[in-house]
């Protein structure tokens, strides 16, 4: 923690950056922090409650952030993949951001409270994580961390759904999507949803009905999933932000499986690896095409 705070202090006092985006202690556990004064660097923390992916604050569509000057951002390994995504899609220039990587031993599903990290409290995506060491970083701080507790659960859940009949799967997802209130929290929190105007808000024509209605909900969630193909970094923020507890992580995980299987692509914090959608191979599988 000291190392992180010292680094932030140096970066701010030397004028290298105008703001350090990290986490701090809040009234309900860890929360994002925007340190602009070197003297406040001691507020910075990093522990298993620092679930949030702060890369979303790098989006150029957040002008209030831009006003704070050049940013340093604290990233976990999974978050670094989002920064790589923003670099890949020319939203951020590498020289315009200082990346401080932190070594991660898994985070809690809920950043509030002081519960220890256990198989019960750990975020769904963490067990079995292979991205705990950030590579895309100017500085990496902290000691190596132990493996996150618990075992991966999502793949088993996906296999279970895949084994169902189509109508059963339909019923399952309809029940989930029925709770959607179209608050767009999943989109707002997502570091990769940086469009000027989301297609979900397009009105001429309106492809996706924006009121919470089964038809629009379905269209929205299909489209969101499709737009995340090969772009989602599996930070789990959409699911955490969802007030209706829709298992978006399950859908994201499914898509990650599809692009891994078909295009041999896995989310990475190497920005030079091209995204799979927008590219093609002559030998892409086409078993679904007559």
């Amino acid at each position: 923690m000291k190392e992180l705070q010292e680094l932030a202090r140096t970066l701010l006092s030397s004028g290298t950056v105008g703001v350090v985006i990290g986490w701090e202690e809040g009234p309900r556990g860890a929360r994002p922090a925007f340190i602009t004064d070197a003297a406040d660097s001691s507020r910075l923390i990093f522990d298993h409650r620092c679930t949030h992916n702060l890369a979303t604050y790098l989006s150029p569509r957040r002008p209030h952030m831009a006003r704070l000057g050049k940013a340093a951002i604290v990233v976990k390994g999974c978050d670094a993949r989002a920064v790589a995504g923003l670099l890949r899609e020319t939203q951020v220039k590498r020289e315009d951001v200082v990346i401080i990587g932190v070594r991660c031993g898994g985070v809690a599903a809920d950043p509030a409270g002081a519960k220890p990290l256990t198989a019960e409290t750990v975020a769904e995506r963490c067990p079995g994580c292979t991205a705990r060491e950030p590579h895309l970083a100017d500085h990496v701080v902290g000691e190596a961390q132990p493996e996150p507790p618990g075992a991966p659960t999502r793949d088993a859940r996906i296999a279970e759904l895949d084994a169902m009949s189509a109508p059963k799967r339909w019923a399952f997802w309809q029940a989930e999507f029925a709770r959607c209130i179209r608050c767009n929290a999943c989109r707002e929190v997502c570091p990769m949803c940086f469009c000027e105007r989301c297609v979900g808000d397009k009105t001429e024509p309106q492809w996706l009905e924006s009121s919470p209605h089964p038809r629009g909900n379905f269209a929205w969630h299909v489209t969101r999933a499709l737009h995340q193909a090969g772009r989602c970094v599996d930070c789990g923020e959409c699911q955490r932000a969802c007030p209706a507890d829709i298992p978006l992580g399950l859908l994201n995980r499914k898509i990650a499986g599809i692009v891994a299987d078909r295009f041999d692509y896995r989310a990475t914090d190497d920005p030079t690896v091209p995204a799979p959608i927008g590219a093609f191979s002559m030998s892409d599988r086409q078993e679904f095409i007559l």
């Binding site: 996906i158 189509a166 109508p167 997802w173 492809w207 379905f218 499709l226 295009f263 590219a279 093609f280």
Partner: protein, 150 residues
């Protein structure tokens, strides 16, 4: 889910086809010129290239009551625009799997490559898609999303 035989007889599925201008559309023209008789259930919407065909079109077609959708264009290496079909292939590979994962019966969606000289193949695609949608019956599940049943 399949319908009983007598209902299959009575049900005329509505099928929307999104096709590229250069291969499938021309192939369908050839089917016409060759007077190849086929099921009258398919309505073609012409796009320049499969690269232009957006998954949003497919969703919208289902929303507007399609019982089946066909997406069709040039064979690999045949694209008028050299690579639109390759991009479409990736896009629809993912879209198809997502729809399946969300519970849409795969038989509702037909993807095919039909070249300008494959009028015969176009007929097969049309008849197959129609027969499959007929077997599945009206896409009530989707229509029910709008609170309306066929």
């Amino acid at each position: 889910m399949a319908l009983p035989a007598e209902k299959i007889e009575a049900f005329e599925p509505r099928i929307t086809a999104f096709v590229c201008n250069w291969c499938t559309y021309t192939g369908a023209d050839l089917a016409g010129t060759s007077r190849l008789q086929m099921d009258p259930n398919v309505r073609i919407i012409r796009l320049p290239c499969t690269g232009r065909i957006d998954p949003l079109f497919v969703i919208k077609a289902f929303e507007r009551g399609a019982d089946g959708v066909i997406v069709s264009g040039c064979h690999p290496a045949d694209c008028h625009y050299t690579s639109g079909n390759y991009h479409a292939r990736r896009r629809f590979a993912v879209f198809n799997e997502i729809l399946g994962f969300l519970g849409v019966e795969p038989e509702r969606l037909t993807f095919s490559w039909v070249s300008a000289s494959e009028g015969q193949k176009w007929r097969e695609v049309v008849n197959d898609a129609t027969a499959r949608a007929r077997r599945l019956g009206p896409f009530d599940a989707f229509r029910a999303l709008a609170g309306r049943s066929a």
